[in-house]
């Protein structure tokens, strides 16, 4: 019998539907796998084994009663940035140690309603700030392909858990590349949906105008299944879009004939690793072989994405993280007066990167600096958005690298924040523009480390009823179907 954890969500769903196995068996297989490899990978902050088996049993009962559904009984795990009722949610930060939320995030609730099983909560850079998961207040997650290397970040736990087959699929969050970059570095598929596609209710905010929940899995097909469930309007999130667009999974059946694929010249720049560039270029050729038309395009404001992102995200986070004061939840460092208590609690419980970004954002919003920094960044943001609007008049999807490098060594960039920030250079503008992006494995470098191709699609607009996600999932699926990168798995 094959190891059940090597099944895709689609395959596992078929086996469950055919009564060839139960969700309890499948869940046990994942819990065994976690027990075996988690000590090396360190992807989880919390493992909810007991609860998982209960949920699996419930899923089996629901199925017995005639219920169907592709996620019914499928074991998943969630980045520790989405709230889960009564289950510790830390955001990778000591300031939320022991915090058990009084409610469940909408995306997780949708998955629960669909019958998914929760295996646990996944490690991340503290409050999603980072590109390596080294900024976690709890542990450093290892890349399953090379345990000396990072899995990427900030959703490093989510990417590594899928790569190491410790969950069939996971949820992450992407503010500037935090799904696509770790998907690329860990050799799995990761999707950042268009802004407003998935409810942010229960997603602990880093940067409210950029954050978006998205899925990780081994295949584009699986990612489409997960998106299908978590997408949709939520009256609790005023930024979630009113849209009837679904059918992500069914859009995969279409081939690529006539699909226009844009290749932005600004994304193939100096500093990009040779192996990465050639792998992505070969992948684009593959898309052409599959019938797509390749068109060179320009996104002229790309060079401003990094400063624009860091001003916007840090400004928003400086307010978003103000609530962590030790008063209502989380540990408190009591001092003589309330101001000192704030200072001590936040000073001791936040990590260095979080403090760096809060200070940067506080500065950018301060009287006398607001116009020069925050407001200017918003103007450039509009220009970046226009670049993409313009591009999507000429092409259906955009293909580019997801990250300029493959997985780097743990500790390699930790003392150089700027170098770390540059790892997100190809993903930041997506969030600024509110569009969607997918990272699909497209090969390995000479050291055998995975490389990801990024496919970008349009966000919401009235004249494009065709969801951007449907386009990039279709392209990614066709590509994955025509290649066999998935056959190589990390040796753990």
């Amino acid at each position: 019998m094959t190891d059940l954890t090597s099944l895709t969500i689609m395959q596992a769903g078929q086996k469950l539907a055919a009564a060839e196995m139960t969700s309890v068996e499948l869940t046990r297989a994942y819990l065994d796998r976690i027990e075996a490899v988690e000590p090396q990978v360190q992807a989880f902050i919390t493992i909810t084994a007991e609860q998982a088996l209960e949920q699996a049993q419930q899923a089996d009962e629901r199925r017995k009663k005639g219920e169907k559904g592709p996620l019914l009984g499928i074991p998943l795990a969630y980045k520790d940035v989405v709230t889960t009722l009564g289950v510790e949610t830390t955001c990778g930060s000591r300031i939320l140690e022991g915090y058990k939320p009084p409610y469940t995030a909408t995306a997780v609730r949708f998955l629960e309603e669909a019958g998914a099983v929760m295996l646990g909560k996944l490690n991340m850079d503290e409050f999603a700030m980072g590109s390596s998961t080294e900024n976690s207040g709890y542990k450093i997650t290892r890349n399953p392909w090379d345990l000396e290397r990072v899995p990427g970040g900030s959703s490093g736990g989510s990417a590594a858990a899928v790569a190491a087959r410790m969950a069939a699929g996971t949820l992450g969050s992407d503010t500037g590349g935090s799904i696509r970059q770790p998907a690329s570095l860990s050799g799995v598929v990761g999707l950042k949906p268009a802004y407003g596609r998935v409810s942010r209710y229960g997603l602990v905010a880093y940067s409210s105008s950029l954050d978006q929940i998205g899925p990780f899995a081994h295949t584009v097909e699986d990612v489409a299944l997960l998106l299908e469930v978590i997408a949709g309007h939520d009256p609790r999130d005023s930024t979630s879009m009113q849209t009837a667009d679904t059918g992500f999974a069914s859009s995969l059946k279409q081939d690529l004939k006539g699909l226009r694929v844009g290749v932005p010249r600004e994304f193939f720049i100096e500093g990009i690793e040779k192996d990465v560039e050639s792998a992505v270029r070969r992948a684009i050729e593959k898309l052409a072989e599959l019938g797509a038309a390749i068109i060179e395009i320009s996104l002229p404001h790309t060079q401003y994405a990094l400063p624009t992102y860091y001003l916007t995200a840090t400004a928003e986070c400086s307010a978003n993280l103000a609530r962590f004061d030790g008063i209502r939840y989380g540990p408190r460092e009591q001092a003589g007066n309330v101001l000192e208590t704030y200072r001590k609690t936040r000073g001791e419980m936040f990590g260095a990167e979080v403090k760096r970004r809060i200070m940067l954002g506080t500065y950018a919003l301060s009287a006398g600096y607001y116009d020069a920094y925050y407001l200017k960044a918003q103007k450039i943001r509009t220009l970046i958005k226009r670049d993409f609007d313009e591009a999507f008049r000429q092409v259906d999807v955009i293909a580019a690298p997801a990250s300029p490098t493959t997985a780097f060594k743990i500790g390699e960039k930790v003392d150089d924040p700027l170098q770390m920030y540059l790892n997100d250079i190809f993903t930041l503008s997506t969030n600024l523009a509110g569009i969607c992006g997918l990272s699909v494995p497209c090969g390995f470098d000479q050291a055998g480390l995975p490389i990801g191709m990024q496919l970008l699609g349009p966000g919401f607009s009235a004249d494009r009823p065709n969801a951007g996600e449907a386009l990039i999932l279709r392209a990614g699926h066709a590509y994955q179907h025509a290649t066999d990168w998935r056959e190589k798995t990390p040796a753990l």
Binding site: L203, V204, T239, A319, A322, R323, I327, T362, Y370
Partner: protein, 487 residues
């Protein structure tokens, strides 16, 4: 020596008494009496990941106030974050309208006494009115501070006037009128002891007749109209003295000490503030459809000025009576309910403004606390009209009604205070009087008809005022006619 005049602008914070809070489904409750932290949820306690959603009813209430204050209602609305740390502000920022308020450029006419004592009308500019959320409440107990978040997230409307006031009488008239408008709109009950209305006064003084705007101070957290008036009066005097002594007024934020009646500089730690406003990314801009504004405009209830005009023209009340009756919605409601119970407009107005007000003042009560409803009062007044009791008795009956809430008729009956209209009983008294007072009778018959009053008075004395005076007069007239014929 120069005389000085104050220049004052007011900010009024009015809670909007919607069913639910500004950004979450929690109920809006009386923060002074509800058990603490019972009306809270992930949103208003700022749990990680929770998001705000705008309350439509709060927006409607805000628009209604804007319309009542003759403001333009702005199509483009945006919320911003105002950041500062305080335990009763769970998110570490307040969601408030900053650059794009819901209403702007309005005015309110107030009535104040002119120099010759005549009532004159003065127009006060309304700069803007914007929506925001209230904070929780901190209570300090010994070394500890307790935080109640029931109030956190309750909708607030901040109404900012232009610095158009030149006396404390004007700010008082404005505050009272604004309070009454909010009551009429049904968006705020105006009970300041519940903290639903709070004030901030920006005060400066200058040489009378000058056009300069001198440095102003800001008096915060004034919880009643009375405090606002006291604090402003103190501050005007303080600043005047500073200038008279050749000093300079420092720009600062002040608190008001209710006990000493003095304003005091607040510790700079709390107030040295850069609020770092920026647009709230969790709430997309709110576009107000002009059709929505029209719909609300059409539904606005009758406001105090219109009601006052109607009372004068329709019921012939004096301007003063009408103004008093409309000043508080509860009083106007009482009056109009009384009219529906077929009360005479003028008599009812008199009874309310004289007898009821006296009682309310003495007992320190609101009209809504009365045990006597408008229909009961009208029934009492009508007993006087029907000659069942006289006016003085009616006041005594009312006193009892106010104490025990009973109807007038059974009280009159029980006390035996009904007018004696039994002709034979009165005739017996009259006969006795005529027999016992031959001299006055003689004088009367001789032409001193003014003595009739004396005779009636004697009957009233005999009957302890309960005789029906009109009837007694008739009976005397008949009696004397008979005597005249006999002689």
């Amino acid at each position: 020596m120069a005389t000085y005049e104050p220049v004052i602008g007011l900010e009024v914070h009015a809670e909007l008494l919607t069913e639910s809070k500004m950004f979450c489904p929690c109920a809006v409750v009386d923060a002074t009496s509800a058990a603490p932290n019972q009306h809270i949820c992930p949103v208003c306690t700022a749990q990680p990941g929770a998001l705000p959603v705008i309350n439509r009813q709060a927006v409607e209430y805000a628009m209604m106030v804007g319309l009542a204050l003759n403001c333009q209602i702005n199509r483009f609305n945006q919320f911003s974050r105002k950041s500062y740390f305080y335990p009763d502000l769970p998110k570490g920022y307040q969601i408030t309208q900053y650059e794009h308020p819901i209403a702007s450029n309005g005015w309110l006419d107030i009535e104040v006494a002119g120099s010759d004592g005549q009532v004159i009308s003065k127009r006060i500019g309304i700069r803007r009115a914007h929506m925001e959320e209230d904070t929780g409440k901190s209570t300090h107990v010994g070394d500890a501070s307790l935080v109640d978040l029931n109030r956190a997230g309750v909708p607030l409307l901040e109404i900012v006037s232009e610095p158009d006031f030149r006396s404390v009488e004007e700010i008082e008239a404005y505050a009272r009128k604004l309070r009454s408008i909010l009551q009429y709109l049904g968006v705020n009950h105006g009970d300041m002891s519940k903290g639903v209305l709070r004030f901030e006064a920006n005060v400066s003084v200058r040489e009378a007749g000058s056009n300069v705007l001198n440095t102003r101070t800001e008096i915060k957290n004034l919880n009643s109209i009375r405090s606002m008036v006291r604090a402003s009066r103190f501050e005007i005097a303080r600043q005047t003295e500073v200038y008279e002594n050749g000093g300079e007024v420092k720009q600062q934020t002040l608190g008001f000490n209710e006990v000493t009646g003095e304003t005091r500089s607040q510790r700079s730690k709390e107030t040295a503030s850069d609020y770092r406003y920026f647009p709230e990314p969790d709430l997309p801009p709110l576009m107000i459809d002009p059709a929505w504004v029209d719909e609300l405009r059409a539904k606005l209830p009758e406001l105090p000025d219109a009601k006052r005009g109607r009372f004068v023209t329709a019921f012939g009340l004096s301007e003063d009576d009408a103004a008093v009756l409309v000043s508080d919605k509860a009083i106007a409601d009482y009056y109009e309910t009384g009219l529906k119970a077929k009360g005479d407009p003028q008599k009812l107005a008199n009874w309310i403004t004289i007898e009821l007000f006296r009682y309310l003042n003495e007992a320190n009560l609101e009209i809504t606390d009365l045990k006597v409803g408008p229909a009961q009062l009208v029934a009492l007044i009508n007993m006087v009209e029907d000659g069942q009791i006289n006016n003085n008795t009616a006041k005594d009956v009312l006193a009892i009604m106010l104490e025990d809430g009973r109807e007038a008729a059974p009280i009159v009956e029980e006390k035996g205070w009904g007018l004696i209209s039994d002709t034979s009983e009165l005739e017996a008294i009259i006969d006795n009087l005529i027999e016992g007072n031959p001299d006055p009778v003689h004088s009367y018959l001789g032409g001193k008809e003014g003595l009739l009053g004396w005779f009636i008075g004697q009957v009233m004395k005999e009957t302890k005022g309960q005789a029906d005076a009109a009837l007694v007069r008739d009976l005397f007239a008949k009696k004397f006619d008979t005597l005249r014929e006999q002689s």
